[in-house]
Subunit: 354 residues, 2 copies
C-alpha cells in the first residue's frame, strides 16, 4: 500500500445513492487528509455533486458504471444483470486489481456478499466470509460476527470467525491479544449447541498467542462489553443485532414520550438537554455504521442502506482503518498461525466447481 | 375448575426462596380475591412468615417438602435428588393430581423444565414444551416463544408453537384471532432457514380461524409489537431475549450517567422525575416477569430466579390468568383443530421408551 489510502466507493449503493455517498466522502476527507477516492457510478449523477464537495473533487477519480444494483433484488438476480457492469461490481474490481485498498458500498447486502465472494474469492482456509459489526457497549465497542453473511455454521467456521474477528480487533482497538467469547445460551461448558461447545474446546486447546479465548457469553453480555470479540453463527447474529437495535429505538420512543407529557418534564428536558444530547450521541447508530466482510481477498465494507452522509462517513472511516492498519495481513498471519497448530493439514483447494 | 383459582407455589425456588415467594403471594392476593395457595416447601421456614402476610395465612395450606432444588444444578442431577421429594416436584404434583390449577416456581429453569416434562408429560400432538414470555413493546406486549425450553426445532415444532402461542394470546390479550409472525432474518419469503420457510408455508396454507399468520418478522420488529405472537426456535429466542434485556440495561446506565454529570442535568432530572418514574416503570422487568411452559398437561409458570416480591407477584398474576381463562382447554382445542386439517394423521403415540 502507498502512503495514501485509496478507497473505491459504490456511489450508486444505498437508498440515496450519490446524494449521500459524495457528501459522506467529503466528511471523511476532513478527518483523513491521506484519503483518496475512486467514485464508481453514473458520471452524470456524480459530477454535479463535486462543486459542493470540493475536497472530494480534488481527491477523487470517477469510474463510470451504467448499472446500479437495486436494493431489493435477490443476489442471483443482481449477479445476472450486474456482473462486470454494475457500480458495485466495478468498485470490487478496483480492489481486485490493486487500484484501491478497500471498497465501500451501502447497497443490497446479499448482492454485495455474493459479488464480493464471486469477484474477490475467499482467502486460503476460509470457506465462507463473515460480516463483522461494531457494537457499542458499556466499555466502548465490541466486534460481533457473523451478522448474517451466511446462515448456519460448524465448529471450524466459528473458530475461523474467532481468529478473523480477533485480527479485526487488533486493527480497530489496537490490542495485542483481544478477548473472544462464543455466544451461547448459558456460560457453563455443558450448555448450548454441540458445534459451539466443540468450537470452544478447539479455541481453549489451541491457546493462541494472538487471541484470548474467554468461553461462552450470553445475549446480555454483549452490551456489557465482556469480550472484545463475540462470535456467533449468522442467523443468530443478525437476530441479536436487530433485536438490540429495536430495543434501543423502543426505549428512545418511551423517553421522548415521557419527556413531553407534562410541563415539568418538558422544562426538565430543556435544562438537561446537553445530557440528552450526550445520550443521543451514544445511541446514534450512524456512529457505529459500517460492517466488514472478513475472509475475502480484499477489504469490503458494507454501510447501512438507509444512512445519511454522517453515517456513510463512519463506514468510510472504518474502511480507512482496515486498509491503513492492514487488516488483510493480520487476518492471513493469524489464520496461518492457527492452522499450523492443527493436527490435520488444511484441505487442498477444491477444483473450481462454480 | 372451581370458582377459586388455586395455585401451587414452589416456595423454595429462586435466589431468595420463602422471603420473596410468601410476600409475593400476599401482593397477588390483594389483586385477586379468589386466589388460594398451596405453599410447597420447608414448613419451618414458611410458618414464621405468615404473621406478616395475613392474606396468605388465611388462604393457604402448606405442603411440606424437605428438599430444595439448587439454582445451579444440571437438570439430570436435580431429577436424581429432587424427584418426588423436592418442593419443585411436589408443586407439580399438586397440578398433576388436580389439587391446584397451576404451579409457579422461581427455581432453576432447566430443572423445572425437566421435572415438568417428566411429571406432567406433554399434551397430545406436542413433542416438546416451549417457554413463552411476555415482551413489552411499543404497542403493549407480545408473546415470544420459545425462550429456550429446547434447542433446535423443525417446521412442525414451529407450527405447534404458533398454535400454542396464539392460544396463550387469546387468554392474555383477550383476542379472537391473534396475529402471529415467524422470526427470521428477512421478511421476504425466500429468506432465512429452510425449516422456518416451511413452517410459514404450512401456517399460510392452514389459514386457521383462530390464528392470523402474518409472515416473517425481524429482530427489530419485536419491540415494535408488529404481531401479538412471535415464534422462534429456543436458542435464538433465548439470545434475542437476553440481548434485548442487555440493551435496555445498557441504555439505562447511559441515561443515569448522563443525568448526573452536570448540575443542570441533575436539576432537569429532579423536575422531570415523574417522567423518569414512568419510564422506569415501563422498563421494569418485574412487571413482565413470568414465562409459561406451553404444551404440558398442566400450567407451569417460571418466574425469574432473582426477582423480588413484586416481580414474583407478576408471575402469580400470570398463573392466575392462565388458569382462570383456561389456557389448557384453548391450547387443546386449537391443536386439535389444526391437526384435524393436516393431510397426514398425527403420529401414533410412541411406546414408553423412558
Amino acid at each position: 500500500m502507498s502512503d495514501k489510502v485509496r478507497l473505491a466507493l459504490d456511489v450508486m449503493g444505498g437508498d440515496f445513492g450519490p446524494s449521500v455517498v459524495v457528501p459522506g466522502a467529503e466528511i471523511a476527507l476532513s478527518r483523513h487528509a491521506d484519503l483518496e477516492f475512486v467514485l464508481v457510478g453514473d458520471e452524470r449523477q456524480i459530477t454535479p455533486l463535486l462543486a459542493a464537495n470540493p475536497r472530494v473533487k480534488a481527491r477523487a477519480t470517477i469510474v463510470h458504471a451504467d448499472v446500479a444494483i437495486r436494493m431489493d433484488d435477490k443476489p442471483s438476480r443482481a449477479l445476472r444483470y450486474g456482473r462486470r457492469v454494475s457500480s458495485m461490481w466495478r468498485a470490487l474490481d478496483e480492489v481486485k486489481y490493486g487500484r484501491a485498498d478497500a471498497a465501500v458500498s451501502a447497497g443490497n447486502t446479499g448482492a454485495l456478499m455474493a459479488m464480493a465472494a464471486f469477484n474477490l474469492k475467499t482467502m486460503a482456509y476460509v470457506e465462507r466470509p463473515a460480516l463483522a459489526a461494531l457494537w457499542p457497549t458499556l466499555r466502548g465497542e465490541s466486534i460481533v460476527l457473523d451478522m448474517g453473511a451466511s446462515i448456519g455454521a460448524d465448529a471450524a467456521a466459528l473458530v475461523d470467525m474467532a481468529v478473523m474477528g480477533a485480527a479485526m480487533a487488533r486493527v480497530v482497538f489496537d490490542l495485542e491479544r483481544p478477548t473472544v467469547g462464543l455466544l451461547n445460551i448459558g456460560v457453563e461448558e455443558v450448555k448450548g449447541l454441540e458445534f459451539i461447545r466443540e468450537a470452544g474446546q478447539i479455541l481453549r486447546e489451541a491457546n493462541l498467542p494472538s487471541l484470548d479465548y474467554r468461553g461462552f457469553v450470553e445475549g446480555d453480555d454483549i452490551g456489557k462489553g465482556v469480550t472484545d470479540v463475540i462470535v456467533t453463527e449468522g442467523f443468530t447474529g443478525n437476530i441479536a443485532l436487530k433485536t438490540g437495535e429495536g430495543t434501543a429505538k423502543q426505549i428512545g420512543e418511551y423517553l421522548r414520550s415521557a419527556m413531553s407529557r407534562t410541563w415539568r418534564a418538558r422544562l426538565g428536558y430543556l435544562l438537561a438537554r446537553n445530557a440528552f444530547a450526550t445520550l443521543r450521541e451514544k445511541m446514534d447508530p450512524r456512529k457505529s455504521n459500517g460492517a466488514v466482510f472478513l475472509g475475502l481477498n480484499g477489504i469490503v465494507i458494507k454501510s447501512h442502506g438507509g444512512t445519511d452522509a454522517l453515517g456513510f462517513a463512519s463506514a468510510v472511516d472504518l474502511a480507512y482503518d482496515m486498509a491503513r492498519y492492514d487488516l488483510q495481513a493480520k487476518i492471513r498471519s493469524m489464520l496461518e498461525a492457527y492452522h499450523a497448530l492443527r493436527p490435520v493439514p488444511p484441505a487442498a483447494p477444491v477444483e473450481a466447481a462454480s
